[in-house]
């Protein structure tokens, strides 16, 4: 007689080690899992709410300066090192992991106007109001050694900005003119002037490393090529640009922060019209920095807020502010794309998360999957009114809130007026000028 027995292969249901995930037989028959849309909607809603709950971007404040922080510099090879220069000529080197000042040096008399770390990460340059360019070692002087610069160049005029070439021993300064210096020489190898006598910022293109852009006081942005004897082109806008920053991943795009509360992203090949106008600030934008991925940038404004814009978005995705933070003068996005550093008028440097609700540190695989899934859900349901409302809600200081509203009213009024003028004038005499075209006065060849 044959006895029938149940026999199963344990491989089908027993995991090999206890670290494995339990084998769960699944039936994906859609009829067994109804209401997918509504269930996922609920999940998305919850994810959005949780995101807002966890959105705590402020990490630390580094205090120690005795005057407003005027410039910041990222270390090129070390993530945890930050340099800051203040309005009293003091430079401080910070250790971000310990959140403490490692070294302090009196670099200049008067403001430290600009600061940049050499590409190798062993030394850095500063320019100040005392018409000097100084090169310093990153390492603190040994015991008994005096704190003095490696190299000092005396200039004829005040320098207002500084940037270093990404690969070579070449740096650029700006002041009355834009100068390109060789590190080995005490006089500039190139000097560009173009009818202006005051520049506020100069930046090397990190991709096409021979190109430069600078902001001048005649409301213009001027482009240069280090190899050419003359500047390339300039665009004059309705108001002055404070700083300019190149996209580190896309060679021909740069963004400038303008006094008219906006930021403008240009394609350097077509300066006639900015590609995007980034609006949201309610006061002059003082500084900006691209994220190292080139997907977003952060801007610091006189209105005491920091805003993060997607590179092709007209409005910010995030706004950071604290009660005590005053006018934000300088801002940097850390090289690992995780943090934002801001230096402000009230002598503090602040460390922020680039993604407010992100969990810091190493994520477990399941955590990461969950985060990915909820991100995707949020993205999928972003157009649903409730989710949109929750996701876009930000608390703003009263002043900024009211100013924003005021701006909106003004803008609306202006638009209305323009419309009325157009309506009551001969067709064609009052052309429609797009927002992008409005802010460019002319392009000078």
């Amino acid at each position: 007689m044959k006895v029938k027995l149940l026999s199963r292969n344990p491989d089908d249901y027993v995991r090999e080690t206890k670290l494995d995930i339990q084998r769960v037989p699944r039936n994906y028959d859609p009829s067994l899992h109804p209401f997918e849309v509504s269930r996922e909607y609920t999940r998305a809603l919850n994810a959005t709410k949780l995101e807002r709950v966890f959105a705590k971007p402020f990490l630390a404040s580094l205090d120690g300066h005795r005057d407003g922080v005027n410039c910041l510099a990222k270390h090129t090879t070390n993530l945890s090192t930050l340099l800051s220069g203040s309005c009293d000529g003091e430079v401080k080197v910070w250790n971000l992991t310990k959140r403490e000042c490692v070294r302090t040096l009196q670099a200049h008399e008067g403001f430290v106007r600009g600061m940049v770390v050499r590409h190798c990460g062993t030394s850095f340059f500063t320019v100040g109001d005392d018409k000097t360019i100084k090169q310093w070692k990153i390492e603190a002087p040994a015991y008994g050694e005096e704190e003095e610069p490696l190299n000092t160049i005396l200039g004829k005029t005040v320098f207002t900005g500084l940037d270093h070439h990404r690969k070579e021993g070449v740096f650029a300064t700006c002041g009355q003119q834009v100068d390109v210096w060789d590190e080995q020489r005490s006089s500039p190898i190139r000097s560009f002037t173009w009818g202006v006598d005051s520049f506020s910022a100069v930046r090397f293109n990190p991709v096409e490393t021979e190109l430069l852009a600078s902001c001048a006081s005649d409301r213009s942005i001027v482009l240069y090529d280090m190899r050419e004897p003359a500047p390339l082109k300039k665009v004059i806008m309705t108001m002055r640009s404070n700083t300019v920053c190149w996209n580190p991943m896309e060679a021909y795009y740069f963004t400038c922060s303008n006094e008219d509360y906006n930021l403008y992203t240009y394609d350097m090949r077509h300066l006639e019209k900015p590609i995007t106008v980034h609006m949201d600030h309610v006061s002059a934008v003082l500084d900006l920095d691209y994220s190292p991925t080139g997907k977003e940038f952060v801007s610091a404004s006189f209105d005491k807020t920091i805003r993060i814009f997607p590179k092709d978005g007209g409005h910010s995705r995030e706004v950071y502010h604290t009660k005590r933070m005053q006018h934000v003068i300088c801002i940097k996005w850390s090289a690992d794309n995780k943090y934002i550093l801001s230096g402000s008028d009230e002598m503090n440097i602040r460390l922020w998360k680039a993604n407010a609700a992100e969990k810091l540190g190493v994520l477990a695989p399941r955590e990461r999957q969950a985060a990915n899934y909820s991100r995707k859900l949020k993205e999928k349901y972003q157009h649903h009114p409730q989710i949109k409302r929750i996701a876009n809600h930000r608390h703003l200081p009263k002043i900024i809130y009211h100013q924003t509203r005021e701006q909106r009213v003004m803008k609306e009024a202006r638009r209305k007026k323009e419309r009325n003028v157009r309506k009551h004038s001969r067709p064609g005499t009052v052309p429609v000028v797009s927002e992008k075209e409005k802010h460019v006065v002319t392009v000078v060849k």
């Binding site: 699944r26 909607y41 991709v207 021909y252 190292p292 991100r375 009114p385």
Partner: protein
């Protein structure tokens, strides 16, 4: 300039005059400004002239006196000093040493310089020519641009250069923007052991032993630092990129695998002991060889001849040898056994067959001619005639027509010999005989059926040939047609009834008045449809043209009948061929027009055949009626067919039908032109009547098949708007429907009574026991009556109470930006993302983040190497493509 030169010339002339003709006292008055100079000379050379000059030049007198005085004074000094002249004009004439060469101030011409050159023979002629040309050309160099202008140009050029340089990044930027996922940092450090140089930069060999070792290593070109590679290896690495290497390796692997497969296969085949297998194999090979040989005969006769000779040789050898004959040892034993053993006998026979085969003479194109003729003769006799018949009907373009019949090997030749067909009735007997003869070919039932059909047709045609001469005269023959049919039919019934007895029954039900003879014609239809025989329609066409006339005649009397029939039609016929009656109803009117149009063109396509078939059915029905009331009311209006069209929209076709068609039959679906307005009133009345009578009809409509839709579309072209709308809403009692609808909605909106009674609680339970009424009353929960409906007092309005404001709060009320239409947006929302609905892999794929960064890694800006990498990839990709293309070839 010109002015200046003029002056010079004048000066020159003066000077000449003064020097060459010293004593001529002619001094022009305009030379005043030159005085000083002249004086100088004069004073140096001669004193006499001065007096003369004094006399003439009154103005310069005083000065001259003064000069003389000065000279005298200076002469007193003893030593005579050389005096520098006064400078009153540009210094061309002045020499530092007051020495003046002749022609000093002259403009030097090129000719002056070349002059000597002309004489010297050492100068090549070419240079001379060039110089001469130069001499003739008197272009001036343009004056330089202003500084601003030139700077602007410089800037423009520089900008253009820079922008083109920057534009190189366009591809990479686009690619990155489109990328589904970007992983930063972009250039990851290669994993694996890092070369020692990079790890320890400052380290040096210090001890003597170390130094010795390193010296040895470097002498032998071995890697000094740690593991890695020798220079040679590195060079080889550089020579071939990773991708190329991978591709190459994959190719090699594949080749090796294929080789091993082949080896294994041959080994296995060699081991097979089965004689039969080898026999088959050999036979196949031989066949293959023959085929090849045939080809070779065409392409390369020389080689073929060689082959032929080889074959011939082999044959000769076979014939000479005693192999495969009954003289071998084995054969002898078999012969002995053969008397008793069936198997042995067979084996012997086989062997002899093999021998026969091997010794058979090969027939090729080279030695074929004589044989061919014989073959042809044989073939012609063997082939059945009906095959030709099939081709005769101008249906050669129709693939169906060449279906099974063409499988006969000799068919091709036959189709050419059309003459045989005309022999007609005499040849009818042949096919049957032939079939019997063909023993090897296993015939399917269909084939036999087909043949039968053909033979039958043959007979019928032969019959027709007597009665009706040519099918082209159809239209003229109309009156004859019924007679024809009757004539045609007699031969058919025997076979027909055997094949398909059920169909005629249905038809009978449908139209009881139909004469018996006609039934037999109809069943043919399905068969023909399936088999796609061209011949059938030929006959039918003859009948078709009658269509319109007959219908017209019928109309006045028939309608009642029809209306009764039609509703029943589908119910009865749905079982087998639901399409037939419907089609008929629809297609009655179109058929005749069509046919009249198309017949002359020759019905080549299957669709047409099908339509012909349906029309044939129609025609048959009509002819039946005609038979009932011959020559009745011939003058009835031709627009009547449109009255039937109303129902025509209900046409339903089965899927099988469509499959057979391959495409929706276009010909049949055409409808007659719009009926005049005069008739519409009657039509409407009729339509409504119809609907009132047939409430179940709607079900039929609700089976919408694709062709039905097209049908209606086609008909739209021909129908006027009113007629169309009327048809669409035929039989709708709108008002009552609306009321019903409203009542339904009201009922649905009423709150339901909730019955929470549980049987068995508090009392006996079991089958057939109901909970007590008391209990039921207690547990039945009546909901509160809803608030009065808003459309309570509005009889002609339904207001939905379903709208829920709490839900609408969560719903998207306008189309979000990137989406073009609602369907797009909804489809994105509809697809779930979670692992509840998707497999693990899918979820992972779907929820991939756009940007991935590594924790604690510095993300460097894009470097120029990326550009190179990109370019390399492109080139590698194109090369790979070429490779694959080559491989394919």
């Amino acid at each position: 300039m010109a002015k200046v030169s003029k002056k010079k010339v004048s000066k020159k002339s003066v000077r000449k005059s003064s020097t060459v003709t010293e004593k001529i006292a002619e001094v022009k008055p305009d030379v005043v400004y030159d005085d000083g100079g002249d004086d100088e000379f004069l004073s140096k050379e001669d004193g006499n002239i001065s007096s003369e000059e004094e006399e003439e030049d009154g103005g310069g007198k005083d000065e001259r006196k003064r000069q003389k005085l000065l000279e005298a004074i200076s002469a007193l000094g003893g030593k005579r000093q050389k005096k520098l002249g006064e400078r009153s004009e540009a210094a061309v004439l002045m020499s530092e040493f007051t020495v003046n060469a002749e022609g000093e101030g002259d403009k030097i011409d090129l000719s002056d310089l070349i002059g000597s050159m002309e004489k010297t023979s050492a100068v090549p002629a070419k240079t001379k020519k060039q110089l001469k040309n130069l001499q003739h050309s008197n272009k001036t160099i343009e004056c330089p641009l202003s500084k601003q202008e030139s700077e602007r140009i410089q800037r423009d050029v520089a900008f253009r250069k820079a922008s083109t340089e920057v534009t190189r990044w366009k591809d990479i930027i686009k690619q990155n923007q489109r990328a589904e996922q970007l992983v930063f940092p972009l250039d990851k450090e290669p994993t694996g052991p890092r070369p020692m140089e990079r790890m320890v930069t400052g380290w040096k060999a210090q001890t003597p032993l170390e130094q010795e070792i390193f010296a040895l290593l470097s002498a032998n070109k071995q890697p000094i630092n740690d593991p890695i590679l020798t220079p040679a290896e590195e060079a080889s690495m550089r020579a071939m990129s990773l991708e190329e290497a991978k591709i190459r390796r994959a190719e090699l692997q594949k080749a090796r695998a294929l080789q091993s497969y082949y080896e294994a296969k041959t080994r296995r085949e060699r081991k097979i002991k089965s004689k039969k297998y080898h026999k088959v194999q050999n036979k196949a090979k031989r066949k293959e060889f023959l085929k090849k040989f045939e080809e070779m005969v065409k392409t390369d006769p020389a080689a073929a001849l060689e082959e032929l000779s080889k074959i011939e040789l082999a044959r000769m050898q076979e014939r000479m040898s005693l192999k495969h004959q009954n003289s071998g040892k084995w054969a002898k034993s078999k012969v002995i056994m053969a008397k008793y053993d069936e198997g042995a006998r067979k084996a012997m026979q086989q062997q002899l067959e093999v021998n026969k085969e091997l010794t058979q003479k090969l027939v090729t194109a080279l030695n074929r001619e004589e044989e061919e003729e014989e073959e042809e003769a044989v073939d012609e006799e063997v082939l059945p005639d009906f095959v030709n018949d099939a081709e005769q009907g101008l249906h050669c373009s129709n693939p169906w027509m060449r279906g099974k019949l063409s499988e006969d090997p000799a068919e091709k030749e036959l189709s050419e010999n059309m003459d045989l067909i005309t022999e007609g009735p005499g040849a009818v007997g042949n096919p049957a005989e032939e079939e019997e003869e063909e023993e090897e070919v296993v015939e399917t039932e269909e084939e036999t059926l087909l043949r039968e059909f053909d033979s039958r047709r043959k007979r019928r045609q032969a019959h027709e040939a007597v009665t009706a001469p040519v099918p082209d005269q159809e239209e003229e023959e109309e009156p004859q047609v019924p007679d024809q049919e009757e004539e045609e039919e007699p031969p058919v019934p025997d076979q027909e009834e055997e094949e398909e007895p059920p169909v005629p029954d249905q038809e009978e039900e449908k139209e009881p008045q139909v004469p018996d003879q006609e039934e037999e014609e109809e069943p043919q239809g399905p068969d023909q449809e399936e088999e796609k025989e061209p011949q059938v329609p030929d006959q039918e066409e003859e009948e078709e043209p009658q269509g319109p006339d007959q219908e017209e005649e019928k109309e006045p009397q028939v309608p009642d009948q029809e209306e009764e029939e039609e509703p029943q039609g589908p119910d009865q016929e749905e079982e087998k061929e639901p399409q037939v009656p419907d089609q008929e109803e629809e297609e009655e009117p179109p058929v005749p027009d069509q046919e009249e149009e198309e017949e002359p063109q020759g019905p080549d396509q299957e669709e047409e055949e099908l339509s012909e078939f349906t029309s044939l059915l129609r025609g048959i029905a009509d002819s039946r009626r005609e038979a009932e009331m011959p020559e009745a009311a011939a003058d009835s209006c031709p627009t009547d067919p449109s009255a039937r069209l109303e129902e025509g929209l209900l046409r339903v076709r089965t899927l099988e039908d469509m499959e057979l068609l391959g495409q929706p039959a276009p010909a049949t679906e055409q409808l007659p032109p719009v009926a005049p307005q005069a008739d519409t009133a009657r039509k409407r009345k009729r339509g409504i009547e119809l609907k009132e009578v047939l409430t179940k009809e709607t079900q039929v409509i609700k089976v919408p098949l694709a062709p039905t839709m097209e049908d209606t579309e086609d008909s739209e072209d021909r129908l006027d708007q009113r007629g169309l709308i009327k048809e669409a809403f035929a039989g709708d009692d709108v008002v009552s429907d609306f009321l019903k609808d409203k009542r339904k909605q009201e009922d649905a909106a009423k709150p339901q009574v909730v019955d929470l009674t549980l049987p068995g609680w508090g009392e006996w339970g079991g089958t057939n026991l109901k909970p007590s009424r008391n209990k039921r009353r207690r547990f039945r929960i009546k909901a509160a009556p809803p608030p009065p409906r808003r459309d309570q007092c509005l009889p002609s309005i339904i207001m939905s109470e379903k709208r829920n404001s709490s839900i609408s709060l969560h719903q998207v009320n306008s189309l979000p930006f990137p989406f073009q239409n609602h369907a797009q947006f909804e489809s994105t929302i509809r697809a779930p993302l979670g692992r509840t609905w998707n497999t693990e892999q899918t979820v992972r794929k779907i929820s991939k983040p756009k940007v991935v960064t590594q924790l604690g890694a510095i993300i460097e800006p894009m470097s120029r190497e990326e550009l190179l990498k990109d370019r390399k990839q492109v080139t590698a990709g194109s090369a790979g493509r070429v490779d694959s293309w080559k491989r394919k070839r």
